[in-house]
C-alpha cells in the first residue's frame, strides 16, 4: 500500500537522497551504542578501542551482581531494579488509563477544547527538568506525607502524559465515528461501544504511548535525582553513582544489559497487547 512513497524502480537522485539521509540518521542514532556494545565484550581491563580481544568476562562479573545471595551480589542493585520496574509499570498503567478517555473526548469534541488541552498536556515537555525536580521535592516535603514509591510515580506520570496523549490522539483521529454509531444503533451502550469498538482500534497508538512511557520512566534521571530517597531509589540513580566513580568494561556491560532489559520489556508490551497489529 505504501510502496508509492519511495519508488521501487528508478527514482534516481530522489531515492538516493532519501536513503542517504535515512542511513545518516540511523548511524547517528546507533553508533555510540554499537561502540559501547563492542567494548563491553572486551577482554582488556581498560576501555581502549578497538578491543584487542573479546571475552564474556565482564558479563560474568556482572551477573554475579544480580545473583540473590552470591558473594559478589549487590542487594542495592537488585532493589533499585525492582523499584524501577514497579514505578514504570504503575506509570504505564495510570498514564494509559487516563489518556484513552481524554483522547476520545478531544477528538470527538475537537475545536478549542482540543487545542487547549493538547497545549496543557504538552507543558511537562517544555519545563526544564532540573527546576521541576526541585519544585516537586519542595512540594513533597511541605506536604508531610509518607509517599513511598509514589514520590517517583507521580512526577513520572506527568512526564509521560504528553507522549501517551499524543499517540492516543493520533490513533483516535483515524477512527471513523460511524463504527461507533453503528454499534450503538445495534443496541450497545455508549460505554460498551467505547470499550469494545474504540479501544481496540486505538491499540497501535496506546502501545506506542506505552513504549514511550516505559522508556521515559525506566530511564528518567533528573527529577528522580531530586525525589529519590535511600529507601526508594531507581536503576539510573544506581548507575549514576557507579559511572561517576569508575568506568571500566563492567560498567559498560551493565549499561548494555539495561538496554537489553528495556528491549525485552518493549517487545513484551508489543507481544502482549498488539497481537497482529504490531507497532514495531
Amino acid at each position: 500500500m505504501r510502496v508509492g512513497i519511495i519508488p521501487q524502480q528508478s527514482g534516481g537522485s530522489y531515492k538516493f537522497t532519501i536513503y542517504l539521509l535515512a542511513s545518516l540518521g540511523l548511524l547517528i542514532a546507533t553508533l555510540p551504542v554499537i561502540i559501547i556494545a563492542l567494548m563491553s565484550f572486551s577482554a582488556a581491563e581498560t576501555t581502549s578501542f578497538p578491543p584487542q580481544a573479546y571475552s564474556l568476562r565482564w558479563y560474568i562479573k556482572m551477573f554475579e551482581l544480580f545473583q540473590p545471595n552470591g558473594e559478589n551480589s549487590d542487594a542495592s542493585l537488585q532493589i533499585a531494579l525492582l523499584t524501577s520496574l514497579k514505578v514504570a509499570a504503575l506509570v504505564m498503567l495510570i498514564a494509559s488509563v487516563v489518556c484513552v478517555p481524554l483522547a476520545y473526548v478531544l477528538v470527538r469534541s475537537g475545536g478549542r477544547l482540543k487545542n487547549g488541552m493538547e497545549l496543557l498536556f504538552t507543558l511537562p515537555l517544555v519545563f526544564p527538568l532540573v527546576i521541576l525536580g526541585i519544585a516537586f521535592l519542595l512540594i513533597a516535603e511541605s506536604l508531610d506525607l509518607e509517599l513511598g514509591i509514589w514520590r517517583l510515580v507521580i512526577p513520572h506520570v506527568a512526564l509521560v502524559l504528553p507522549f501517551v496523549l499524543r499517540n492516543c490522539v493520533g490513533a483516535m483521529s483515524s477512527i471513523d465515528i460511524e463504527l461507533e454509531q453503528a454499534a450503538i444503533s445495534l443496541g450497545a451502550s455508549p460505554l460498551r461501544a467505547g470499550v469494545d469498538i474504540v479501544v481496540p482500534l486505538m491499540k497501535p497508538g496506546i502501545i506506542a504511548g506505552l513504549v514511550f512511557a516505559l522508556i521515559i520512566s525506566f530511564n528518567e534521571f533528573t527529577i528522580t535525582y531530586f525525589m529519590y530517597t535511600v529507601d526508594v531509589t531507581t536503576l539510573p540513580i544506581w548507575m549514576y553513582s557507579r559511572t561517576v566513580s569508575s568506568l571500566d568494561p563492567s560498567t559498560l556491560a551493565i549499561s548494555f544489559v539495561i538496554v537489553l532489559i528495556d528491549l525485552a520489556l518493549i517487545l513484551l508490551i508489543d507481544k502482549l497487547l498488539a497481537g497482529r497489529n504490531s507497532l514495531l
Binding site: 581498560t46 516535603e141 535525582y225
Partner: protein
C-alpha cells in the same frame, strides 16, 4: 589489594605501633556489636571518594559495631547542599560528608546539630587546626588537596608552575575545573598568585583577563573525573588544574594511564578541610551517629582512607603504609607549611557567586 597490604602491615608492626593503637582499640573493644540492629544513613559523594567511604569506613564500622550503614552516594557537595536545603528540617540522613564550604552554608541555614565533642575521643589525636569548623557544626574529616594533573608522556619533568597552563603547545589539550566546584575558585586564586598576588586579596579583574587567554584553548572542563581519566588514557590531554589527585589513586599508580600529579608548584597548592556533619532532625540514634563520626577519625581508618583516595589525613597518628608515607600525593598535616593555600572561608563566601558567574562567562 593495597588495602589488605596495609592491614597486614599494621598487624605485623612492632610494639610502638601497638602501644599507639591501644587506646582506640580499647574503646572499640567495649563497643563490640553493641549497635546490633541499629541503622544509620550516610550521604556522601558519588565519585570514588564516596566509594572508598563505603569500603573503608562503612563496612568496617558495620563489622565492628553490628550497626547497619545505608550509604547514599549521589552528587557533589553543592548538589548535596541543594537537596538538604530543599528538605529543610526533615532530613533523611544522619551523617553527611562534604567540602568545607557546604558545611558553612548549611550551618548558616540552621539545619545542623553541633556534635558532642565528648563523644568523639579520637579528636584528641587530630591536629588542633582541623578538629572542628563551620561554627562547631562540622567535625574535621580529611584534607582535600589540589594541584596540577599532567600527562607523563608530554612532561618529562612535572610542571613547576600554574603558568605552564598558558604554554602554547597545550592549546586544545588543556582542562580546567568546572565553575561549580571549589577548585574553580582555587584556579582563580592560583592565577592571581601567578600574577604576583598574595592569594588573600585577589585582584579579580587581572586574574580573569589572564584566564580569558585560555578560553579558546580548553578542551573541556573536568566535570566528570572518569571522563578526564579516559581523555588522558587516550593521550588527548596534557595538563589541567587546579584539580585534586584524589580522584585518581588508581590511575596515578598505573603507568598506562599517562597521568601524573604534582603539588610542588611555585605558587603553592590548595588544601581544604572536609567535614562530617549531622542534621538536627536526624532519624538515627545519637550514640551510633557519634560513634560513626568518631570512627572516621580513627588512626587506622584515616591511614587507609588517605591511601585509598589520596586525601590528607588529619589524625596525627594516622597509620599509613610505607608506600603511603612516601607518596607525594598524600599531604600530611605537618606538610601544610608555607606552600599550602587555605582559603579564608568568609572571604570565599562573599565573592563566591560573583566569581562563579564570571568564571562561566570568561571561559565558556
Amino acid at each position: 589489594m593495597s588495602n589488605k597490604f596495609t592491614r597486614r602491615h599494621i598487624i605485623k608492626s612492632g610494639t610502638a605501633l601497638a602501644a599507639a593503637m591501644a587506646m582506640p582499640s580499647l574503646v572499640f573493644a567495649s563497643q563490640d556489636k553493641k549497635f546490633h540492629g541499629k541503622t544509620i544513613r550516610l550521604l556522601t559523594w558519588s565519585d570514588n571518594t564516596g566509594k572508598a567511604i563505603v569500603d573503608h569506613i562503612a563496612k568496617p564500622f558495620e563489622e565492628l559495631t553490628g550497626a547497619k550503614v545505608i550509604v547514599d552516594r549521589t552528587g557533589s557537595t553543592s548538589e548535596m547542599v541543594a537537596k538538604l536545603r530543599a528538605v529543610g528540617d526533615k532530613a533523611q540522613y544522619d551523617i553527611i560528608t562534604l567540602a568545607g564550604v557546604g558545611a558553612v552554608e548549611l550551618a548558616k541555614d540552621g539545619v545542623l546539630a553541633k556534635p558532642d565533642l565528648n563523644k568523639l575521643p579520637n579528636l584528641e589525636q587530630v591536629d588542633p587546626r582541623f578538629r572542628t569548623g563551620a561554627d562547631g557544626h562540622g567535625i574535621g574529616y580529611l584534607l582535600w588537596t589540589g594541584g596540577l594533573i599532567y600527562n607523563t608522556k608530554t612532561f618529562a619533568e612535572p610542571p613547576r608552575s600554574y603558568g605552564q597552563l598558558w604554554e602554547k603547545q597545550h592549546d586544545g589539550r588543556l582542562f580546567l575545573p568546572p565553575s561549580t566546584w571549589t577548585d574553580a575558585l582555587d584556579t582563580i586564586v592560583a592565577t592571581d598568585k601567578l600574577l604576583g598576588g598574595n592569594g588573600a586579596a585577589v585582584n579579580v579583574d587581572q586574574a580573569f583577563s589572564k584566564l580569558a587567554e585560555l578560553q579558546s584553548r580548553i578542551l573541556t572542563f573536568g566535570e566528570n573525573p572518569t571522563q578526564i581519566a579516559e581523555l588522558f588514557r587516550a593521550d588527548a590531554l596534557d595538563i589541567g588544574g587546579v584539580y585534586a589527585p584524589a580522584f585518581y589513586a588508581k590511575e596515578l599508580a598505573d603507568p598506562n594511564s599517562n597521568m601524573g600529579a604534582t603539588y610542588d608548584l611555585d605558587e603553592g597548592f590548595f588544601a581544604d578541610l572536609m567535614y562530617t556533619i549531622m542534621p538536627k532532625s536526624k532519624p538515627g540514634e545519637d550514640d551510633v551517629v557519634h560513634a560513626f563520626m568518631n570512627f572516621t577519625l580513627d588512626a587506622k581508618v584515616q591511614g587507609i582512607m588517605a591511601e585509598a583516595v589520596l586525601n590528607g589525613p588529619i589524625n596525627q597518628q594516622a597509620k599509613m603504609s610505607d608506600a603511603a608515607k612516601a607518596s607525594p600525593f598524600i599531604v600530611k598535616p605537618e606538610q601544610l607549611g608555607s606552600t599550602a593555600i587555605v582559603h579564608d572561608k568568609n572571604y570565599i563566601a562573599d565573592v563566591r557567586e560573583d566569581w562563579i558567574k564570571r568564571y562561566t562567562q570568561t571561559l565558556s
